[in-house]
Subunit: 344 residues, 2 copies
């Protein structure tokens, strides 16, 4: 963990800002590294990671930019939770157990100390929740928007990372939890929900899912044992299944009437059926989408029950050019024409 580097605008005089930066590191970041010996209390410019014999490290990195991935006035605790959880979700989708993370903050020079304090409190809360620690990182200043990067490190048995590649014709397609909640919430947050919706619609649980996704870490070991391919739903269900299709070299077919929906989403879709497109193509669900051999269907569903994670079969893998087709209840293809499709 280092402070600000050389400043072209002020050669040799970077220290005043750097001193403030070091003070912030001491106050807010060092406590987040306690309990992880390889972080050396953030007193060094590197950390160490020990990998037990027979295991290997999974590394995943996600960056978030104010105005692109979150709204500048979102609560800092929620931004912290989302930053960490989208990375933990990637680890879960790869079948990995979280170990530690590094953090890079690029903050405007006038960033309020209170913002950083609340952001780090959010990180601290989630560290306890998920049993991980800060390993190191960097703190820099920027003339642009708040930019936050986390690299999360996890462990899997060597050679056992769940990949996007591996889906085969005959496999079934599954998804955990419910889909579309975050994308519906985003419409609401931006004031773009259809006018026809019932006033009584309950947006709160949807917005909570947008702001604080729940990484499906509990299902990671089952995923590793049972899935042929997998990822987490961040770009949107259709787009992300499209990634599996493209890398695995298969076609994927899902049934819209089998999509697991929350009660709140179900109410909204009853009032505005066109929102199905949002459910299918909106992002930020952070559920696990995966394929598994049909012979493992019962095992997949039983594993979900065993670890308290709902799992729903939504489709199948076919031979064919990489593509994702969505069928309605009658088996007819839906004429969707939005995000995700054009990845092919």
């Amino acid at each position: 963990m280092t402070g600000q580097g050389a400043t072209p605008a002020a050669p040799g005089s970077a220290a005043p800002a750097a001193a403030g930066e070091f003070g912030r590191i001491d106050r807010y970041l060092k406590p987040l590294a306690q309990g992880y010996p390889g972080a050396f209390g953030l007193t060094d410019d590197a950390g160490t990671v020990a990998v037990p014999a027979g295991m290997e490290l999974v590394v995943t990195t996600d960056a978030m930019v104010a105005g692109v991935h979150f709204l500048p006035d979102d609560p800092p605790e929620d931004i912290a939770a989302k930053l960490l959880r989208v990375n933990l979700s990637d680890l879960a989708a790869k079948g990995a157990v979280p170990l530690a993370y590094s953090l890079v903050t690029a903050l405007p020079r006038d960033c309020a100390e209170d913002w950083l304090a609340r952001f780090c409190a959010g990180l601290g809360g989630d560290q306890q929740r998920y049993g991980i620690h800060l390993l190191g990182g960097d703190s820099v200043s920027t003339s642009g928007p708040v930019t936050l990067t986390v690299s999360a490190l996890g462990l899997v048995p060597a050679g056992r990372m769940v990949r996007r590649a591996g889906a085969r014709p005959g496999d079934l397609v599954f998804v955990t939890g419910t889909v579309g909640d975050a994308a519906l919430a985003l419409l609401r947050v931006l004031g773009r929900e259809p006018a026809a919706l019932p006033q009584a619609a309950d947006w709160a649980p949807l917005v909570a899912r947008l702001r604080r996704p729940e990484p499906r870490l509990a299902f990671a070991p089952a995923l590793r044992d049972l899935a042929s391919a997998g990822l987490d739903v961040s770009d949107g269900l259709v787009a992300d299944l499209g990634h599996i299709a493209a890398v695995s070299g298969v076609a994927i077919e899902i049934r819209a009437d089998r999509l697991p929906l929350s009660a709140a989403a179900r109410t909204l879709l009853a009032a505005a059926p066109d929102l199905l497109a949002t459910v299918l193509t909106g992002g930020d669900d952070y559920e696990l989408a995966f394929t598994a051999p049909a012979a493992r269907e019962a095992a997949v569903l039983a594993a979900g029950r065993a670890c308290g994670v709902p799992v729903t079969g939504i489709g199948r893998v076919l031979a064919g050019a990489p593509a994702v087709t969505v069928l309605d209840a009658s088996g007819a293809p839906l004429p969707l024409d939005r995000a995700g499709w054009q990845h092919f």
Copy 2:
């Protein structure tokens, strides 16, 4: 490696930008991951790292922001080289052998494709030079300046990372190469060099050092075997020795007349002696500064000769409150009052 995430300004319509982003990843980033199996050709959202028995991973992260750490119109190849090399320098300073790196680019939406092409060409050249590969990362867009982050991963024998802690009274202080070149070059680049300097001064080698620092990887094994504490000089010689002093709980005393200077720096200092302050406190040298027991002095100097890295003894470690004192040739403390001092 993922594309752009959800865009609050355009729910469900992130794909057009994302498609362009995926195209750029295919064209410019995927070739950088060839040759490293754990990158899975950047087709996945995570990479794997295998750590041989008896070794552990060193993780170091450095971010660079346009206008803060480099000038917006610096050649993209040079920005790439500096980004990678400052991280490799951290690995060298920790005694680690480079293995792979992850990259996060936050680029303005109107970033020219040619810029990215040249930036990635710069990365590719340095990957060959240093024998490392791209492991993964993230690509996002920003309304702010170009922001680049590298996490470099290296290997050390377990428990053997060279730390900032460990310097003891009686140890000697060493530095590799020459110091101050980059800080002097920065004055020139910014047009702030003293007017009295000789017109014939040769700035080219100084500017080259600023733009393309040379990580002292060749000396890393010797450092691991011989040093009691160490780091690379990025914040400035005095500031960085101050980090060692603070974390080790010792005082450090160096002699200004023993500083290793390049021929170009020597010419400039002869004409403008006040530039000594720039040499002592300016950053970006990326030489290794370290302490070692006095009994190992001959071994340290021999190791430098053996691997072709100049090493110079510049001072000693004393018992006392953490501080760095610079003495002149007569042994009197220099009244420096610039960056680095106020870290205490």
